[in-house]
C-alpha cells in the first residue's frame, strides 16, 4: 500500500462503503434483524458466508497470502461502520474484531493458516475467550489456565461464543500467556448462551474442564497476538459505534422533518434542532477518533496505538450511547415502542459501551498516559497574583 496521509479516503473505500450499504439494505433490513434476533443462532449463516465470500468484508485487514483482501484495519473500519449502522447480527466482534486479528498476529502454522482462511471466507465463525469487558492487560485478559496440554477455567461473558465454530482461548500457562484454539464439541467444553440485554449480539458463558486445545502461540508471541486483537477490536468497535450514531442521526433528522406538532415540523423547534446539531458534532468527533485509532494500528509512527484506541473507546462509547438515548427522546412515544427500531440501537449502544472496557476505564488509561507522565519543566501559564 502506498504511503497515504492520515484520514485520506480511497476510491476503493468509497466503493466498499456503497457495496456494503446496498447489501445491508437488501439483505439485512430491519425485518431481517428482528427475525434473526429471535432465531436459534441469532444470525444467518448463509448471509455470513456472503459477507465473507462475495463481499470480502470479513477479511479486509488479512494479508492476501493468508486468504484475505490485503487491506488494512482502516478498510475494515469502513466496513465496521456500515455493518454497525445496519445492526448486522452475527459474530462480527468475535470473528472479525478479535479472532482474525489474533490469528493474523500469531506465528504462522498449519492450524493457524487453515483456521484464518476459514474465518476470512465466512465458512466458519469464531470467538475469543478472554476478559472482554476491560481494556487489554496481559495479566487479566486470561481467566483460563493452561496446564499439561489442557485448558480449565470459566468466563461468564463471552460475546459470540454460543454460535462459534471455533474458540480461541487466552490462557495463563506455566511460562506466561498462551493462545490456543478449541473445538466447542470436544469433551470438557461447555458453552451456554445467556439472555443478553442486546438481542443483536449475544453473550455466552464458556466453561473449560481439562479441554484439549491446540496451542497457537506462547509467551511474547501470545501476548503480541492478543494485544493486536484487543487493539483492532477496540478500533472496529469504535467504528461500529460511529456507524450507529450516524445512522441514528439520519433516522432522527428524518423523523423531526416529517413529524408535525403545533402546526410545524418538530425539527423547526430549537429544542429539537440543537439536540440534533449536538448529535452531528458527536458523530464528527467520534468518526475522527475511530479512524485515528485504526490509522495508529496500521502505522504506529502516527500515534501510540493503545492511546489512540483509548481515545476512540472513551469518545465513541459516549457518543453512540448519547445518540441512542436522544433518538428515543426525540421520537417521543413511538421511540419507546417495541415496533420502532430505536430500542435495538439503544441496546446495542449500551452493550458496545461496556465491551472491551467502559469509557471511564479508558479515560483512566488516558490520564495515566498523558497526565501522570508530564515533564517537570512543562510551561506554566502566567497567573495573576493580585
Amino acid at each position: 500500500m502506498a504511503e497515504q496521509a492520515e484520514f485520506t479516503v480511497t476510491e476503493e473505500q468509497r466503493e466498499l462503503r456503497t457495496a456494503l450499504h446496498r447489501f445491508c439494505e437488501r439483505a439485512h433490513d430491519e425485518a431481517t434483524v428482528r427475525r434473526l434476533m429471535a432465531s436459534d443462532d441469532g444470525f444467518d449463516r448463509a448471509l455470513w458466508a456472503r459477507l465473507g465470500g462475495e463481499l470480502g468484508a470479513l477479511s479486509l485487514a488479512v494479508p492476501e497470502e493468508l486468504g484475505g483482501a490485503g487491506g488494512t484495519v482502516v478498510d475494515q473500519a469502513v466496513a465496521a461502520e456500515e455493518l454497525g449502522a445496519a445492526l448486522v447480527t452475527g459474530p462480527l466482534l468475535g470473528t472479525v474484531g478479535l479472532a482474525i486479528p489474533a490469528l493474523v498476529a500469531a506465528p504462522a502454522s498449519g492450524t493457524r493458516d487453515a483456521l484464518l482462511a476459514d474465518l476470512a471466507a465466512g465458512t466458519r465463525t469464531g470467538a475469543l475467550v478472554a476478559g472482554l469487558f476491560a481494556p487489554y492487560d496481559g495479566a487479566t485478559a486470561a481467566a483460563v489456565t493452561a496446564a499439561g496440554g489442557t485448558l480449565s477455567g470459566e468466563i461468564g461473558h463471552v460475546p459470540d461464543a454460543a454460535a462459534a465454530d471455533v474458540l480461541l482461548v487466552a490462557a495463563d500457562g506455566p511460562d506466561g500467556p498462551v493462545l490456543a484454539c478449541v473445538e466447542p464439541g470436544v469433551p470438557g467444553v461447555t458453552v451456554t448462551g445467556r439472555g443478553s440485554l442486546d438481542p443483536t449480539r449475544r453473550i455466552a458463558r464458556v466453561r473449560l474442564d481439562g479441554a484439549a486445545g491446540t496451542v497457537l502461540a506462547t509467551g511474547d508471541d501470545a501476548d503480541r497476538a492478543l494485544q493486536h486483537a484487543f487493539r483492532t477490536a477496540g478500533a472496529l468497535l469504535a467504528a461500529e459505534q460511529v456507524g450507529i450514531a450516524a445512522r441514528l442521526l439520519e433516522l432522527t433528522v428524518g423523523y423531526a422533518t416529517q413529524r408535525w406538532q403545533f402546526g410545524r415540523p418538530i425539527g423547526s423547534f430549537q429544542a429539537v434542532k440543537h439536540r440534533l446539531a449536538d448529535m452531528l458534532v458527536g458523530v464528527e468527533q467520534a468518526r475522527t477518533a475511530a479512524l485515528h485509532a485504526a490509522w495508529a494500528i496500521v502505522d504506529p509512527r502516527l500515534d501510540d496505538p493503545d492511546l489512540a484506541v483509548a481515545i476512540a473507546q472513551a469518545t465513541c462509547s459516549e457518543v453512540a450511547y448519547r445518540a441512542a438515548a436522544d433518538t428515543v427522546q426525540l421520537h417521543g412515544g413511538i421511540g419507546f415502542t417495541w415496533e420502532h427500531p430505536a430500542h435495538l440501537y439503544y441496546k446495542r449502544a449500551i452493550a458496545d459501551a461496556a465491551l472491551l472496557g467502559s469509557a471511564e476505564e479508558y479515560r483512566e488509561r488516558i490520564a495515566a498516559a498523558v497526565l501522570d507522565t508530564l515533564p517537570d519543566d512543562l510551561a506554566v501559564p502566567r497567573v495573576a497574583t493580585g
Binding site: Q270, A277, L280, A289, L371
Partner: protein, 392 residues
Amino acid sequence: MTPPSTAAEVETAAREVVGRHDPGTVPRAELFGALYDAGLAWVHHPVGLGGLGLSRGLQTVVDGVVTDAGGDRMFAVNPIGYGMGAPTVVEYCADRELVARWLRPLATGEEIWCQLFSEPGAGSDVAGLTTSAVPDGDGWVINGQKVWTTLAHVARWGMLVARTDPDLPKHRGLTYFVIDMTQPGVEVRPLRQMTGQAEFNEVYLHDARVLDAHRLGDVGAGWRVAITTLMNERTAIGGVTGRRSSGVIGEALGLWRANPDRQTAVLRDRLARLWTRAETHRLTLVRAGRTATEGRPGPEGSVSKLVGAELNQDVYEFCMDLLGPDALLYDDYEIRPDPGSTLQQRFLRSRANTIEGGTSEVMRNILGERVLGLPGEPRSDSDRPWKEVPRG
C-alpha cells in the same frame, strides 16, 4: 520549472522561501511578500493572486514550514484580512488588478483589514442591519454605526455591508463594499469589554465615501457575499491545528503539573475528559483539512467553531477551579488593546468565545438547518420590506 503541486513539492518550495528569507532576521513583510510571490500565501488561490490553484488543505504544509523556522503565521498578523477578506475578494471582485493590489499588502501585513458587519441593533440577525449606502457620482455615501470591529483602529480597509434598498426584505437590500478606513468620515472608538481591555472598536460612519469600483458583487447581492466571508470566519476562528497538548489544553496541563497539592481524582478525571475532547477536536481539524476536496469551507468549519468555543470555556473553568482561591487574586482591569496574558484574563475572555463570530445557539441553528436540512424557525421578517419590520 513546473510549479509545485504535491504536498512534498509545496514543502520544498516553502523551505526554499524560508531559506532565502530567514524569519529570524528579515522583516516579516519581506518573508510574507516572498511567500505571496511564490504562490504560498493561500495555495488554493489562483496563480498570480498568492496561490497555486491547489487544495486548501496544503496550506497547513506551508504554515508548518514557516512556524518551524520561527516565523509567524500570516493569519496571526492580519487575521480578518487573511482568513476572510482574501477569499471574499478573490471570489467576488472581477478586477484582477485590483485584487492583486489588495492582496499582496494584505498578505505582508502592511495593510490590515477589518470587518464592518455587526451593529448595535444587528448581532445574530446581522442581515437586519441599518447602516445605509446611497449612490453618489462614481461611488456611494455611507452613514451608520458598526460595532465589535477587531483591528479597526489600525485597519487600512474594511469589509462593509450596508443597506442600499430599505423597501426590499432585509436580505435582498444589502450591498457589500471594501471601504477605505483612513478617510475623515470614519471614526473609530475603542470599546471596553468585561476583561477591562479594549480589543474591539465601535466605528462611526458619517458621510464616508466608497468607490463603486470597490463594490463586491452586485447591488442587492451583499448578503451572498457576506455569507462567503462568514463561512470563512468560522473556519478561521475554529481552525488552527497545533500539536497535541498545545494551546489552551496545554495551559491546563502546565497548571496541573505545577500544582501537585491541588490534584484530586475528580479533577484528574475532568482534565482527562477535557484532554480527550481537545485531542479529538484537534484531530477533527486535521481530518477536515485532509478531506477538503475543494477550496470552499464546509460544515466542519461550523462544527469546529462550536466545539472549540465551548471547549475553551470548559478548559479555563477547569483551570480556575484547579487554582482555587489563588485564581481570585487579580488586579489587572487596565484598558489595553492586547488580548491579555494572564490566565484570569483569558478565562474572562473565553466568555466571548461562544458569542463572537456566531453564538453557539446560532451555530446550532446553522448546523441543524444548513447541514442537516431541518426546517427553519417561522420568521416574521423574511418577506416584509425591511423598513416595516419592528426593531427594538
